[in-house]
């Protein structure tokens, strides 16, 4: 069930009406939301609802045991057990095929070629998101940053709540569990913000991302050797816009849907291509993941506490694992390596090379350099193999007239980038206006916005890019 579809629209209307009618009974409300979330997940593959339940039960049980014991050593063992089991679940479903294949290659190199038990494991949608969420709950309870959930129902809903279930944002237990404790209260600001985010997300996904994918990015990345430098450059920038509009649209709709049900999710994107350094980029792009990696990987590794060399190693490990989180392929690891290397260069430059009296570089240059580094890395991220990525990069030497860069496509790319020039809280400001007008006028405004999107969007809808992660 994809967000920008009629079936999701109907599903949401039923869920909205039912949950608010149960508002005075918070437990029943949560039970209903949990059932609705399972229906939402089962729409793709009902078999994996069992996995979702098992994962939630496991995390609830481990956190319960941690909360009930005072013995430090036992607590450590329990948290290690919880994290390990979560990683085993993720590893089996997401990385089994990849690791077996790599192991086979290694045996082949060593001259011990064997038939290894290859299985075609179906990847449950959103597994990376809900296992990371489960892990963060267990670790936060262990660290005392988050109280233990009142009931299994709360943990199940935390992990299964349908707006964030399949592609985030990765909402921490400390953010969501206190909201589950009592019946939520809706405010007009929150509702107006939610409605506008939904309309805005629909526009970014169905108009910008879908058109760019169909008419530029997919054909060029399918066979980069068939295109010249202009088209390749356009497709690289086009993909940067597509992935931003695609993923941020999902986050916007998720935040909007949750807001209409009375829950607040954290912001996941903050105009990332405005970043003046890669470090800043990661504070603006997929914020929930970069915060997760910082809090549960980079800081426990030592962060920046043990000198420059150790900091650089920690950065590289974090980015390599961040790359691997995106998918079981060497191209994702290489993508992480590029980001890690540039982050290290920035760190070394700022802390060891640059003198305080040197003149500062113009922020515009910082934005341009960062954006182009990010786009270069996106080529690896989007390519299905190193061979495709290499063919793509070699194609920049073929100076032929572009064939796919029509005025329409160029407008979409420029428009997608121009979104970053909007005031940083434009939707919030629009929402503060919308919430002051009478409800029929607000409904008409939102209806007209969605109608405009519906009138110009192409038929059909491709799944969100981050569903595969």
């Amino acid at each position: 069930m994809l967000f920008p579809t009629m079936i999701f629209g109907l599903f949401f209307l039923v869920v909205y009406a039912s949950t608010w009618s149960l508002n005075r009974e918070n437990e029943r409300r949560k039970q209903f939301l949990l059932l609705a979330s399972w229906v939402f997940y089962a729409w793709w593959d009902w078999r994996f609802v069992g996995l979702l339940i098992a994962s939630a039960v496991l995390n609830w049980f481990v956190a319960k045991q941690i909360g009930e014991t005072e013995d430090r050593r036992r607590r450590h063992m329990l948290v290690a057990l919880g994290v390990t089991i979560n990683l085993i679940i993720l590893g089996f479903f997401k990385y089994y095929g990849f690791f077996v294949e790599q192991f086979g290659e290694m045996l082949k190199l060593a001259g011990w070629e064997r038939d290894l038990p290859l299985m075609h494991v179906i990847l449950p949608i959103g597994i990376s998101f809900f296992t990371f969420q489960g892990m963060s709950y267990v670790i936060d309870v262990h660290r005392g940053k988050c109280p233990r959930a009142h009931s299994l129902l709360d943990v199940m809903l935390l992990m299964s709540f349908f707006p964030h279930l399949v592609a985030g944002p990765i909402v921490r237990a400390s953010d969501l569990l206190p909201q589950f404790a009592k019946a939520p209260k809706l405010s007009r600001e929150m509702a107006a913000h939610g409605l506008l985010l939904i309309a805005w997300g629909l526009f970014k996904k169905t108009v910008i991302a879908s058109e760019l994918a169909t008419n530029l990015v997919d054909p060029v990345f399918f066979d980069p050797t068939a295109y010249g430098a202009g088209d390749l450059l356009g497709a690289a920038y086009g993909y940067a816009v597509q992935i931003y509009c695609d993923f941020s649209a999902y986050s916007d709709i998720a935040i909007g849907v949750a807001a209409l049900l009375g829950y607040r999710f954290p912001r996941n994107f903050d105009q990332p291509y405005r970043a003046r350094s890669l470090q800043e980029f990661w504070r603006r792009w997929h914020i929930s993941l970069s915060n997760w990696l910082r809090d549960y990987l980079y800081v426990p590794l030592g962060g920046n506490r043990d000198g420059l060399v150790r900091t650089c190693i920690n950065l590289m490990i974090t980015m390599l694992l961040g790359g691997l989180w995106h998918g079981a392929a060497w191209t994702f690891i290489a993508w992480g390596a590029i980001h890690g290397t540039v982050l290290i260069i920035e760190r070394v430059w700022w802390s060891a090379i640059r003198k305080p009296d040197w003149p500062r570089m113009s922020p515009v240059w910082g934005v341009l350099i960062t954006f182009n580094v990010v786009c270069l890395a996106w080529i690896l991220f989007r390519s299905d193999s190193f061979a495709t990525a290499m063919a793509y990069l070699q194609g920049f030497g073929r100076l032929t007239a572009p064939t796919l860069l029509t005025p329409f496509i160029v407008t979409l790319i420029v428009g997608g980038l121009a979104l970053h020039a909007l005031p940083s809280r434009a939707i919030e400001r629009a929402a503060s206006w919308l919430c002051r007008i009478p409800s029929p006028a607000a409904g008409l405004t939102v209806g007209v916005l969605i109608l405009l999107v519906e009138a110009i969007r192409p038929p059909g809808i491709a799944p969100f890019i981050y569903f595969q992660f």
Partner: protein
């Protein structure tokens, strides 16, 4: 200065039972509330915050209702497109038939026009070539009429 501030027009003496409203007796309560409580729904007197939240919820529900009705009326082609993509069953066939009737009725009323106009303009923009853009720019730069004689 006296602390005793009473309204001379109020005949009720201070401290009388009429001054402090007593909670409604079980017999006085609405049957629907009694039924709801019997069904296990805990109902309590709403606070100001609850009233504000209720007001906001009604505002949101009305806004969603208006947006839904507007889209149902002006965006009927999307409903029909969706109906045709459903897997063939008795139910989906019924939905498809209803969507077809709904769309044709609204077309007769001309309610599909706003969407069609926007769609057609947008398609024209999609099909523009660089040559068309250059041509349009030249036409715009050219003087609108003959220059006035000095």
């Amino acid at each position: 200065m006296s602390d005793d501030i009473t309204d001379p027009a109020d005949p009720t003496p201070p401290g009388s039972a009429a001054e402090t409203p007593s909670p409604p007796k079980r017999r006085d309560r609405a049957p629907l509330i009694e039924f709801a409580e019997a069904a296990g729904f805990a109902l309590s007197d709403p606070t100001d915050e609850d009233l504000l939240a209720d007001h906001a919820r009604r505002w949101t529900s009305r806004a969603i209702l208006v947006a839904t009705l507007l889209l149902a009326a002006l965006n009927s082609p999307s409903i029909q497109t969706w109906a045709t993509t459903l897997p063939p069953t008795w139910g989906s066939q019924t939905i498809d038939d209803l969507a077809e009737v709904w769309t044709s009725r609204l077309e007769q009323l001309g309610l599909d026009q706003p969407r069609t106009v926007v769609h057609d303009h947008y398609q024209g923009f999609q099909q523009l070539s660089w040559r068309d853009v250059v041509k349009t720019l030249r036409v715009r730069r050219a003087p609108a009429g003959n220059p006035k004689p000095r």
